[in-house]
C-alpha cells in the first residue's frame, strides 16, 4: 500500500514564526501536492511538484513556499505564519501518467497560528 506521512497531526505556532510541514511518500511517486482544507471551501492547491527540485504554484501560493530536495519528501514552508493560515494542511502524491491518476493523501496537519 502507498503510504503518505506528515510530520505532525497537530501544530500550534505563534504569529511571525517560520513553520515547516513535512510530507514523505514511500512509493516513488513523481508528483506531490500541498493543499489546505477549510470548511465550505474544499481543498485548495497551494503548490505542487512534478520532480525533484521542480515546483509549480497552485491556486493559493501567497505566504507559502515549498522544497523538494529528494523525490520522497515535499516540504511546505510558512515563512512568517499569520492567523489566516490557521487551517488543515493535506499532502498528497500521485504517479505521473496520462490517465488513471489517483492521489494518495496523508493524514493531515491541523495548524493553529495564535
Amino acid at each position: 500500500d502507498v503510504k503518505v506521512t506528515q510530520s505532525s497531526r497537530y501544530l500550534v505556532k505563534r504569529t511571525g514564526e517560520k513553520v515547516f510541514l513535512e510530507c514523505v511518500q514511500d512509493m516513488d511517486h513523481e508528483n506531490m501536492f500541498w493543499y489546505r482544507q477549510d470548511p465550505g471551501l474544499g481543498l485548495r492547491l497551494i503548490y505542487f511538484s512534478y520532480d525533484v527540485k521542480m515546483k509549480e504554484k497552485g491556486d493559493i501560493p501567497e505566504g507559502y513556499s515549498v522544497s523538494r530536495e529528494k523525490k520522497e519528501r515535499f516540504s511546505l514552508i510558512l515563512e512568517s505564519a499569520s492567523t489566516n493560515q490557521t487551517s488543515m494542511y493535506l499532502c498528497a502524491s500521485s504517479l505521473f501518467s496520462s490517465g488513471g491518476v489517483e492521489q494518495y493523501f496523508g493524514p493531515g496537519t491541523r495548524l493553529t497560528v495564535t
Binding site: 465550505g40 481543498l43 493523501f105
Partner: protein
Amino acid sequence: AQTVTQSQPEMSVQEAETVTLSCTYDTSESDYYLFWYKQPPSRQMILVIRQEAYKQQNATENRFSVNFQKAAKSFSLKISDSQLGDAAMYFCAYYNAGGTSYGKLTFGQGTILTVHP
C-alpha cells in the same frame, strides 16, 4: 478554468437506506476523469470511485455507484445500503487528462454525510 460544485453541504441517511450526493462541474475539455473521495473523521482521504469521461458506462464499486451525465456535466454518487462507516466528508474531484496537468485535481467544496442508526 475548471470548477467543481457540490451544492449539498450536508446530507443524512438512515442505516441501510440509499443516499445520493450531487456534483456538477464545468469544463471545455473532452478528456478528463472524475472522482469521489471520502474523508472519514480520522482525516485520511481515500478514493471511492473513478469515472473516465470517454466511458459511457457508469462506474460501480460494491455499494457505491455513479450517475455520470456528460452533457449535463453532472456526476452524482449513490451509496446503497448505507453503513455507519460511510459517515464522512465526501469530495468530488476533476482531472484534466489532456495537456500537462501533472496529476492536479480540482476539488468541490465537500458534502458531510451523516448516517443514523
